[in-house]
């Protein structure tokens, strides 16, 4: 578990970091918390010529409440969110998600930007940010662009990031009324990556949405399930049928056991929300 040699740079600005990451003919990587990249370098599944340390860039550390949203800089750590150091516009959902990621020593350094950039299908933040319809702001060689997190993540470990791109942060729209939510996760032990992540939320007008993660290459909204749950007086049988329809539409590779597990987990999140 020792990394192959590489060069190291610690630029002072986002622009310098972006240029360094775009160095011609070199395999480069940014490092934020290092909590995913370090094992990947050690296992040599990531082989790089140049490591660009972005962990001290103040522009990526901004946390602020705007008129109608929360801005979280890419370097916001899981522990800062767990400890309530960012404004709580979502009735405790972010704290709940942050506090059960891995272990405290990992949460002290792991960042929300690193988690979304990596786009591990079992990671917690992609699922949560998609459930909250967040957008991601990216600085790159072609300037700055903003994308919905749901569009930014293409596939497992695959995003729209290209050479020289750096995630600056996330803009999460504030709900119009105190958010009602349920969060349920299946994992082999506390702190382990999920086998299933379900997040259910309910907007002020009563509309319910459900996002399922760790069930395929990327988290997906369960639209049939959400519509069935929003309809008045749905029976559990109808909800289960809607969940099956969503599996067929988005997660066709699930086996019978996985379907039962994800169904139970979704129903748990929905019960917690109600």
């Amino acid at each position: 578990m020792k990394s192959a040699p590489f060069d190291y740079l610690r630029p002072k600005t986002v622009a310098e970091a972006s240029v360094a990451l775009g160095r011609r003919g070199a395999n480069t990587a940014a490092i934020a918390g290092g909590q995913s990249l370090m094992p990947m370098l050690g296992l040599r599944v990531a082989l790089i010529d140049l490591l660009v340390d972005i962990s001290r860039l103040d522009d990526l550390k901004l946390v602020t409440e705007t008129l109608d949203s929360l801005w979280l800089g890419a370097l916001t750590t899981h522990a800062a969110i767990e400890d309530g150091k960012v404004p709580d516009l979502f009735n405790g959902l972010l704290r709940r998600v942050a506090g059960q990621i891995s272990y405290r020593a990992v949460r002290n350094h792991g960042t929300i930007g690193g988690s979304v950039a990596l786009a591990d299908p079992s990671a917690d933040w992609p699922c949560c940010l998609i459930a909250l319809d967040a957008t991601v702001r990216i600085a790159g060689r072609g300037g700055v662009r903003v994308e919905r997190v749901a569009d930014f993540i293409h596939d497992s470990y695959s995003t729209t990031l290209t050479t020289g791109d750096i995630i600056v942060g996330f803009d999460i729209p504030a709900p119009k009324a105190p958010l009602r939510w349920g969060f349920a996760k299946v994992a082999r032990k506390s702190g382990a990556f999920a086998h299933s992540i379900a997040i259910a939320t309910q907007a002020k007008d009563g509309a319910i949405s459900v996002v399922l993660g760790a069930a395929g290459p990327r988290p997906r909204p369960m639209t049939a399930t959400a519509n069935q749950l929003t309809a008045p007086a749905s029976s559990e049988e109808q909800v289960r049928a809607a969940i099956t329809a969503d599996f067929d539409a988005h997660f066709a590779d699930l086996d019978a056991y996985q379907k039962r597990m994800h169904t139970a987990n979704i129903l748990r999140a929905v019960r917690e929300m109600r």
Partner: protein, 166 residues
């Protein structure tokens, strides 16, 4: 090679390191501080846990170059720390170690738990220890020792708010 300056257990250390060197290897191989143990080298076992700028940190998941300008404490540097002295006594009295391989990481994590929680109960301690693996499986006594150490720390109730001026 990259020049770094680290405040290591209260002493300024200047050194040149290879960028790929982990903080753990720097501590053990360059500085001879072998209390920090390496079990898995990918974040799962917690044996390598040290304190960086006050934060519990996996030294296997941090590069030495990233510790440049930071304050690092290892178990060696916490010998006289009051909380560590208390924990050491309770680990001894509760027989909270067998081979001792996991113990440095357990002690650093235990100290972190007691800094964040007042009188943690066994359930909370178990949860907080889920990232620390003891291959001798002596968890019951480790949990007992940390809970007992927590009970030994007096915690004053917060001072009452001063009465508003009339």
């Amino acid at each position: 090679m990259t020049a770094i300056t680290v405040e290591l257990n209260g002493v300024k250390v200047n050194d040149d390191v290879e960028p790929r060197q982990s903080l753990a290897d720097f501590l053990r191989d360059r500085c001879g501080l072998t209390a920090t143990h390496l079990g898995c080298e990918h974040g799962a076992c917690g044996a390598c846990t040290v304190v960086v700028d006050g934060l519990a940190t996996r030294s296997c998941l941090t590069l030495a170059v990233m510790a440049d300008g930071r304050a690092v404490s290892t178990l060696e540097g916490l010998r006289a720390d009051p909380l560590m002295t208390l924990l050491r006594r309770h680990f001894h009295e509760s027989h909270a170690l067998q081979c001792g391989f996991c113990t440095p990481g357990m002690l650093i994590t235990a100290r972190d738990i007691l800094q964040r929680y007042v009188h943690p109960n066994a359930e909370l301690v178990r949860h907080e220890l889920s990232g620390q693996i003891c291959r001798c499986t002596g968890y019951a006594n480790i949990v007992k020792a940390i809970v007992a150490a927590g009970q030994d720390i007096p915690h004053e109730p917060p001072a009452p708010e001063p009465a508003p001026e009339a």
